[in-house]
């Protein structure tokens, strides 16, 4: 039994470290939006199938998180926000993360195909490919538009949830995609305005560095404005209704007002109050997305009681 001793590692990886490779916080957003996409669809899904589908979509998202951490280990080591991740912390080796990511990718896609349908499975496979290859390997270190295009990967889950139920794509699922897609850039750029020293050090091109902060502030406002017709338009489709539309009106008014306030400020003033407005808008953007999807869910619930929808 002497060969066991060669295996002693100063910091033994625990089960939780492998879970951390799957980016559980990102996963929670994936689970929530995919679940809403599945539940608001006009075709009902047996509960066990729905549960399994959401689980495998989440696992697929987690797999892409592990592959992202494998590829980005060098960046993660430099940035303070990510230094505690399992690979830079020396708990899990890059090779382990790679193999966990690849195996989980294959497993989640095949299982989603068996549990739901192969269209949804192909969609999940494409999402993993998009996040790992298009975003992580190609765009992230090359263009400040990384956030914009990479956001598509995070926007696919509600479409996959919809595809699990209906086996296809429709205007409702495209608008749900649009909501997350156009929400991602202002959300991350607000974060970048008060966190960008990190990205600078890791040489990841962020808009704040490549195009300057005033430009970033303007882009936040533009994206917040683009979001308005998408969010309200979703309310006019079959899955919307008066409750959703009322919620969307309030949320978009507050979000545009916040983006406007960010645009009107310059960095001297922002630094003076510790980036209070930027932080507030960043926190509100989380609520913005959560409440939009929550309102869609409420409309479906009301629809069951013949009280929702148009």
């Amino acid at each position: 039994m002497t060969d066991f001793t060669a295996n002693t590692h100063p910091q033994e990886a625990q089960f939780g470290d492998y879970v951390a490779l799957l980016k559980p916080r990102v996963m929670s957003l994936v689970v929530f939006t995919a679940l809403v996409g599945l539940l608001v669809a006009p075709v009902s899904v047996p509960p066990v199938v729905g549960f399994a589908a959401i689980l495998f979509i989440a696992l697929g998202g987690g797999a892409s998180g592990a592959l992202n951490m494998w590829y980005d280990a060098d960046i993660d080591q430099v940035m303070k926000r990510t230094q505690g991740r399992p690979i830079p912390a020396g708990k899990v080796s890059p090779g382990e993360a790679l193999s966990l990511g690849l195996w989980l990718s294959g497993f989640s896609v095949v299982m989603l195909g068996l549990a739901a349908n192969w269209f949804a499975a192909a969609f999940l496979a494409f999402t993993i490919f998009f996040y790992v290859v298009i975003y992580t390997m190609w765009l992230k270190r090359w263009t400040p538009q990384n956030i914009v295009i990479g956001g598509a990967a995070g926007a696919f889950p509600p479409m996959i949830g919809w595809a699990v139920a209906t086996g296809g794509v429709s205007i409702e699922s495209i608008l749900m995609f649009g909501l997350v897609f156009f929400w991602t850039p202002p959300h991350f750029w607000a974060l970048a305005l008060f966190m960008n020293a990190d990205y600078d050090k890791a040489r990841v091109p962020m808009l704040t560095v490549t195009h300057g902060r005033p430009y970033t502030r303007r882009m936040i406002l533009i994206y917040a404005l683009v979001l308005v017709p998408i969010a309200l338009g979703l309310g006019l489709t079959a899955i919307g209704g008066p409750v959703y539309l009322a919620v969307a009106l309030v949320l978009n008014a507050v979000f545009v007002a916040g983006a406007w306030a960010i645009w009107r400020r310059d960095d001297a003033r922002a630094a003076a109050d510790g980036y209070a407005t930027e932080k507030k808008v960043f926190r509100f953007s989380l609520l913005y997305l959560f409440l939009h999807f929550g309102a869609l869910l409420i409309e479906t619930g009301l629809g069951q009681l013949n009280m929702g929808g148009w």
Partner: protein
């Protein structure tokens, strides 16, 4: 010969092994309930298996 040797690694890896074990049990349970659900909802249970299956063919003039 049964594995009777105890080693410190068994303790050190207990959490990991327990986690993997529970995941496998959960997967077995999920597969079982998924199968039950699929059968209950009357999905196509019969499939092509290299033998003539009259029940799988479409009747002439039928849909």
């Amino acid at each position: 010969m049964p594995i009777t040797e105890t080693h410190e690694i068994h303790q050190r890896r207990f959490g990991r092994n327990l986690g993997v074990g529970l995941c496998l049990v959960a997967f077995v349970a999920l597969s079982f309930f998924l199968t039950v659900s699929k059968l209950r909802n009357g999905g196509s249970i019969e499939g092509f298996d290299y033998q003539m299956r009259p029940s799988l063919t479409v009747e002439e003039g039928g849909q």
